[in-house]
């Protein structure tokens, strides 16, 4: 499954998601043809069970897709739609076709069968028709909401990707169900963190490729700058962080089941990739010199996303603190067993 997914998506992206196309989406333009091609390929529904209209794929099957979305700077919420449909499916709801994203943050309330409050930092919130959110409370529930007629306040992250606020006022959800046992009300934040870790890994792969290529071509002092040891060593560090981010993301996807996300692994992946993002972007720019600082050069498509994604769905600091509190509350004795089992207890109920 994995190979077919990867090669199908890569071909599609090579065709449609060119740097030119990405650049022209900045500021919130929705690339209609690109989305239609992706929807037709069926990937937005990949993670919904077959009984819910999906492909019943496993998380491990789609890590490559999300990494590719990062590598190509895909200007669409495909990863978000996949997560949304996974959550609908695991909650026993039908998958949702069409323009779909997630609302992982905000003040949504569920009262008398209707939803009110704000969903904030919603990826492509103004452009989509549907969003999936989790409403916290004693009985956390999943809701699928139409964005039709909802107040939309436009915002954008550093990379110019829409991060909008949607204001709901007594909106009847299109579908809703209690969150299944074993999932918590931060499931979309955690899932979002896992997605971004894979996208960051992909973006770093792109940054690494651009940087090694450029270093081989750019000549100063009569030789390619790749021959300078100072450059070689910086790029090696970039490669190390790229490898670390990629395998950390792969581990999080591989250890997530159709029923639940691998919490510790996803947090660790977001922590490592968020750290790598800043280091990696810095090195890529250092090696590219002034040309990489121009709007015309494609490097910024990657580096500005690295700077944006590292703080979305929980920063290095937020997830590290969570892990650290849990590690300390377990004491030294539980530290190593947590590493080998991949199970860290006490992750719930610690201050954020």
């Amino acid at each position: 499954m994995r190979e077919i997914f990867d090669s199908t998506i890569e071909r599609l992206f090579l065709d449609l998601v060119t740097p030119q196309a990405v650049m022209s989406c900045e500021g919130g333009v929705w690339p209609e043809a690109m989305w239609d091609a992706i929807e037709e390929s069926g990937f937005t529904l990949a993670l919904a069970p077959e009984s819910a209209g999906g492909a019943g794929a496993a998380w491990a099957d789609v890590c490559g897709i999300v990494r590719l979305a990062g590598r190509f700077s895909l200007p669409l919420p495909l990863p978000e739609a996949m997560l949304a449909n996974w959550l609908l499916g695991v909650s026993g709801l039908q998958g949702c076709g069409g323009r779909l994203t997630i609302g992982a943050q905000g003040t949504l309330r569920f009262e008398n069968g209707t939803v009110s409050g704000e969903a904030i930092d919603v990826p492509w919130g103004s452009e989509v028709d549907f969003i999936v959110a989790v409403i916290a409370g004693d009985e956390p529930r999943v809701v699928l909401l139409s964005t039709y007629g909802v107040q939309k306040i436009h915002g954008a992250n550093i990379a110019g990707e829409p991060r909008d606020t949607l204001v709901f006022n007594e909106v009847v959800p299109l579908a809703t169900e209690l969150l299944p046992l074993g999932l918590y009300d931060d499931v979309l934040r955690l899932g979002g963190a896992m997605l971004r870790s894979a996208q960051i890994a992909g973006a770093l792969e792109c940054g690494l490729a651009l940087t090694t290529t450029y270093a081989g071509e750019r000549v100063q002092f009569g030789k390619p700058i790749a021959s300078f040891q100072a450059i070689q060593h910086q790029v090696s560090v970039l490669a190390e962080h790229t490898a670390a981010s990629a395998i950390a993301a792969e581990a999080a996807f591989a250890e997530s089941s159709n029923e639940r996300l691998a919490e510790f692994f996803s947090m660790a992946a977001k922590i490592c990739s968020s750290e790598a993002a800043g280091i990696g972007a810095g090195i890529a720019h250092a090696v590219h010199g002034a040309i990489g600082f121009t709007h015309e050069h494609a490097l910024h498509l990657t580096t500005r996303r690295l700077w944006a994604w590292r703080s979305e769905f929980g920063s290095l600091t937020e997830w590290s603190k969570k892990l650290g509190y849990a590690a300390c509350s377990g004491g030294a004795k539980e530290f190593w067993p947590a590493i080998t089992s991949g199970q860290l207890h006490n992750l719930k109920g610690v201050p954020a």
Binding site: E205, I247, A248, I271, S320, G324, C328, G331, F335
Partner: protein
């Protein structure tokens, strides 16, 4: 080289199964070891402990049964060694034999050499050291000068090795020496298994900065070796050493050297860390988990018979940065001064590992050399 060569690999259940037994054994065997002894796990030399591990079948596990090994998968061996290191067991005596000399002898040795060494290695009775570095050849290993010349059916060795860990308490050294007449650089090098009890060898311990004696200078003065001391093919020493380095550079000892300090740090901080302490401890934990994924990915490549020299360099360099960061962070996060006498467990472990930390990016290849290898793999050299 591609980043995709780091494939996430789970430890198979049959390999994982040994973990409980190892943990139970170590909980008992090390119950009286104070934190400071656990901190020098990799440098801790305890021949009797090594024999106990040998008796349990935990040395040379991945070697074939007919040579005293366990025919276990590299993953089972991985489980055992990471548990030993995490618990701070004194593993130094048999470490080099288990990690590289054993596999080297299996791969390149004759049947006589295998019979002579492998069963004894597996019993924890034959200890090896690695004779690569020389006074004028550190990073530039291909410039070594120690030479073996043929005399009849014997080899006669002259020269000097240095920084040889455990030479003063090992039975054998696998040495890289020059055998080609007028050869230079990586041509004309060969490897020998040198019996360290032979006449013509002088071994002098060198005190390290903590005052302990782990590494040595070793002099060869008209040392006479039998023909069967040569391991592998004459003149192929460079290729053999390079293959060996993939084993040497990717294991859990490349990122677990400071784990004793993580343990004492967590206990010193207590169950109510402040925000900075929680953040940094959580970040270390995430990095450790990820380094282990990377190291296991290399293990699965080794298991598949590949030579992941590039990936191993990535693990070692990334791991060394991590190991070295821990003593710096421990200093930052707690107002506890390091102590070499008196003081708490944490103060002592902090003192010890603060002093050991510089070696983490030297032994087994320096940071600069590893980054050069990584860059070459990226096509930059």
């Amino acid at each position: 080289m591609s980043i995709d060569q780091f494939k996430y690999s789970r430890i198979p259940p049959e390999a994982e199964a040994v973990r409980g037994e190892v943990r139970a054994f170590l909980a008992d065997a090390l119950k009286d070891n104070p934190a400071i002894r656990r901190a020098n796990s990799w440098m801790g030399f305890d021949a009797e402990f090594s024999r106990k591990l040998g008796a349990r079948g935990w040395i040379g596990m991945a070697l074939p049964k007919r040579y005293g090994g366990g025919d276990a998968s590299p993953f089972a061996r991985y489980v055992v060694i990471e548990e030993l290191l995490a618990a701070g067991a004194p593993v130094s005596a048999h470490w080099f034999a288990d990690r590289q000399s054993g596999p080297q002898i299996l791969h390149y040795g004759t049947d006589v050499q295998r019979e002579k060494h492998l069963p004894a290695i597996c019993r924890g009775e034959q200890f090896f050291c690695i004779g690569m570095s020389e006074p004028n050849s550190g990073s530039d290993l291909a410039s070594i000068k120690t030479r073996a010349r043929r005399e009849g059916d014997k080899w006669v060795v002259n020269g000097q090795k240095v920084w040889t860990t455990n030479a003063h308490r090992s039975h054998y050294m696998i040495a890289l020496v020059r055998t080609g007449e007028n050869s230079s650089r990586n041509q004309g090098l060969s490897q020998f298994i040198i019996d360290l009890s032979l006449p013509g060898i002088t071994i002098r311990p060198i005190k390290d900065l903590t005052g302990s004696e782990h590494f040595n200078e070793v002099f060869f003065d008209e040392l006479v070796l039998d023909a069967d001391a040569l391991i592998g093919t004459e003149g192929q020493g460079w290729a053999q050493v390079t293959a060996e380095l993939a084993f040497e550079r990717s294991g859990p000892e490349r990122f677990l050297s400071s784990i004793a300090l993580i343990h004492t740090l967590i206990d010193a901080v207590g169950c109510k860390p402040d925000a900075l302490q929680a953040k940094e401890i959580g970040r270390l934990m995430a990095r450790l988990l990820t380094l282990r994924h990377m190291s296991l990915a290399v293990t699965s490549q080794l298991a598949a018979g590949q030579n992941p020299a590039w990936e191993a360099s990535v693990v070692k360099d990334f791991g060394a940065v991590f190991e070295q960061e821990i003593s710096e962070l421990a200093q930052l996060l707690c107002d506890i001064s390091p102590k070499i006498e008196g003081g708490s467990d944490h103060a002592q472990v902090l003192a010890y590992l603060t002093q050991m930390a510089p070696s983490f990016s030297l032994r087994g290849g320096t940071r600069e050399i590893l980054r050069g290898i990584i860059a070459r793999g990226l096509g930059m050299r």
